[in-house]
Symmetry: C2
Subunit: 482 residues, 2 copies
């Protein structure tokens, strides 16, 4: 990829992360985000600047996920940033869900009131109603990559919760209920497969409870991850919207049966929040740890430079760089900072593999390779270099996933009483309980212990609702969450 | 690429363009945009929906231009959608230029007044001031692909003038004036090379007059195209910002000289307006004509279907499709509409090459190829198929450029008096005149004849200003414009 590529390393007064991840996760996260130059606080409360180091991750997410949806026949489009207020009000439940978070634009003379989009169902389906005429126009599968704004009042956190974020929102229309249900399912599966493979974040797919369902949807499927502090994180959702929006916005088609029918719809989205999940899950006391598959720069060469051997050593780095062409790599040949300083910088920034090349290595026909995930060092002969780098990249990717998965799997527990539930939630567990799927019951649990259900399922045998004492087959998985 | 790919063809009541391009360009443009499913009017005045047929062009523009800027060391990032009002006010001229077009967000309790970004100089340089410490951090080259909003009061037109549009804005900082001047120049050249090569739009590079310069810039370079009605269209700009913004926002660095210096800055951008230019310049009475290099689907196969030979003919299309793998193509095998109907549809939508395959062609080992630009038909033997398609794609691309270039070149003229100028402007010419580079003089010309300068240059010999009568070496090129 690169030889002697110039890196904007930012300031030279970098001192590494000052706290241990296990001691103070919020402070650790704050420092990693800042010092690895991933994001910066913007001069507008709750907004962030996504810096190149993190934006390149978003670009890689876009590239791979866009490829996947296009294979499924989805096409990209772009709808307006602003949505007439009257559109939200058309679908009552949807309006109720989003109204508190809307940012309105100051009305211009003679024009309607507009809000910045928090999501685009309403404005998109207004167009769909015009575009769709007959069953021949279905399925309609459209996606957009864009920014959305939700005026959160709770505390914000870069990537994980901000008033503006970047995402994709897919919106499809089908001829029948089965089409929508199938699409909802295939997309939540696609999310899981993509995120586990590329970001090494283990996920559980589950159905959202009545209380947590997307407002306006018939059914919401979620992918949930677990952060190191035992808080769950919703990483994406896929909704079966049924015919709710179709009826509101008039998304109708002439069916094969010669009759006019309402379309069956889905919507699904993932966002820049994934970057936050990845930072928090894989990072360590030295800083960011990037899964190789999502990193643009996978290998950094750090030449050990002395005046007399400088040229030879850099030339060797260039030769080795060529051997791994196609794998993002660069040579940090700056003479104004020491090898040790460079080691720290690229560890902080999470580059998966560091290759050290000094004059003595040259003599011995070897290099030193350090993998970022375990910080293990190994000496590799030049002739095995490319092969070993390829092996290590696979190994690092797998190791990150395995570590996270084992943590995730060990975090499940059960409870029979509210007291037991509260204790286990406090320990950072995902706790399985019997709970009636009723928003008022869930609300009272939330008020009592500060945790909501992450997903629900049906049990074969009946149990007793942990809160209401009613008999139920409904099971809920509860955890604190971001 | 594809075999029997499903196409969402939209409605089936398509009737083609009802006016001739030369008779009524605005109506022609309106119909092409609608009927080729490029854009739709949004329910918000002055906003548009970019439909998949046009969005795929934007994706191709992004892909190629993004590749080019990354080769130049530019990195992508993302800055907030909203900008504090106080930021605009910091740079007086910039504020004056953009204030009338700002859309403000309704203030929330205790928060400052925010505007939706019309361009991002101010919010980006606020961050740059924090990030840049020393000469080692320079050059800083950052770009963002995003949406911007400018609340135009004049009439809007899809792609060419809308209140929201998509663009890229590159923002660089250099150690010295030469660095900035060089970057401004290389980027305007990059735009010209990219747009001429991919969109087949001939351009002139020129310097903007004092009146037309970007507000806040020291110098603005423009690329100007000419539309079929003799109106010029600004297709992109590149600005040398000097140290204006650096001084306002404190973009300082410790120089190699050990002293603190202000950075020298540039910004440059192109937008979805390019899609409008392409539609208007290349389209004809049948609809859209896509330059092959920017089209995702370059070839459409239309099998001539009879029940008895259907399978054989489709199989042949699939074989031919495989022969041109890597060139975007699809087979329109719908049985519910006739070949003639399909010919019209894909001509309307501008697919560069149509391949007709019928049972008689099968017998003769040949196919019929129709090129979209000239609508010329030719019979090609199967064995020459792939070669001929490749040749034709190159030929169509070159032909579109040549035709447009010859029109552009023939549209230049000169004038010595205001009367002569007015007449030639009325004829749709780009008219070269002596004009002092003074906003007040330019304003009075604009008021008198409705045309502004598109670019200016310095003459070697002196002449007389067409309006003020003053002696001057300043030359201006005037035209009506979009």
């Amino acid at each position: 990829m690169a030889s002697e590529k110039e890196k904007n390393s930012g300031s030279f007064d970098n001192k590494g992360i000052t706290v241990k991840k296990k001691d103070d996760l919020p402070q650790w996260y704050f420092e990693v985000v800042q010092k690895a130059e991933l994001a910066d606080y913007a001069p507008i409360q709750g907004f962030m600047v996504i810096r190149p180091n993190a934006y390149s991750i978003w670009e890689n997410i876009q590239k791979e996920f866009d490829r996947r949806i296009k294979l499924r026949g989805v096409k990209n489009a772009y709808f307006p940033l602003l949505i007439p207020d009257s559109f939200f009000k058309k679908e009552a439940e949807h309006a109720e869900g989003f109204s508190p978070e809307l940012a309105y634009v100051e009305s211009k003379e003679g024009e309607e009131k507009y809000a910045i989009r928090p999501t685009s169902e309403t404005i998109m389906y207004d167009s769909y109603a015009k575009w769709i005429r007959s069953w021949r126009d279905l399925p309609l599968k459209i996606n957009q990559w864009c920014n959305v704004v939700r005026w959160e009042v709770s505390q914000t956190k870069p990537f994980l919760r901000t008033r503006e974020f970047l995402w994709q929102e897919g919106h499809c229309v089908f001829e029948n209920e089965e089409g929508a249900e199938e699409n909802m399912t295939e997309m939540i599966n696609e999310y899981k497969s993509f995120i586990e493979e590329f970001l090494a974040i283990p996920l559980v797919i589950g159905k959202k409870s009545e209380a947590e369902r997307f407002k306006g949807a018939k059914k919401t499927m979620t992918i949930e991850a677990l952060m190191p502090d035992g808080k769950a994180l919703q990483c994406g959702t896929s909704h079966n919207l049924g015919q709710n929006f179709a009826k509101t916005f008039g998304v109708k088609f002439l069916g094969k049966d010669g009759k006019e029918n309402f379309g069956w719809q889905t919507s699904w989205g993932i966002s820049t929040r994934l970057i936050g999940a990845m930072i928090m899950l894989h990072g360590d006391d030295k800083g960011l740890v990037l899964p190789p598959k999502i990193a643009s720069d996978k290998v950094v060469f750090v030449p050990i430079l002395f005046d007399s051997t400088r040229e030879k050593v850099i030339k060797k780095c260039e030769q080795l760089s060529k051997q791994i062409e196609g794998i993002g790599n660069f040579i940090d040949s700056r003479s104004e900072c020491s090898p040790g300083w460079k080691f720290n910088e690229w560890e902080l920034k999470g580059i998966p593999i560091r290759v050290e090349v000094g004059p003595k290595d040259l003599e011995k026909g070897q290099v030193v390779i350090v993998r970022r995930d375990t910080l293990e060092k190994e000496i590799v002969s030049e002739k095995d270099f490319a092969k070993r780098v390829n092996e290590l990249l696979v190994d690092i990717q797998n190791n990150l996933f395995k570590k996270a998965k084992s943590f995730f799997d060990s975090s499940f527990d059960e409870a029979k009483t509210m007291k037991e539930l509260e204790k286990k939630i406090g320990e950072g567990k995902i706790v399985k309980v019997f709970m009636v799927n009723d928003p008022s019951v869930e609300k009272s649990i939330k008020e009592e212990i500060g945790a909501a259900s992450r997903w629900v399922e049906e049990s074969k045998k009946e149990g007793v609702c942990i809160k209401s004492g009613k008999k139920t087959k409904s099971i809920a998985y509860l955890a604190r969450n971001y």
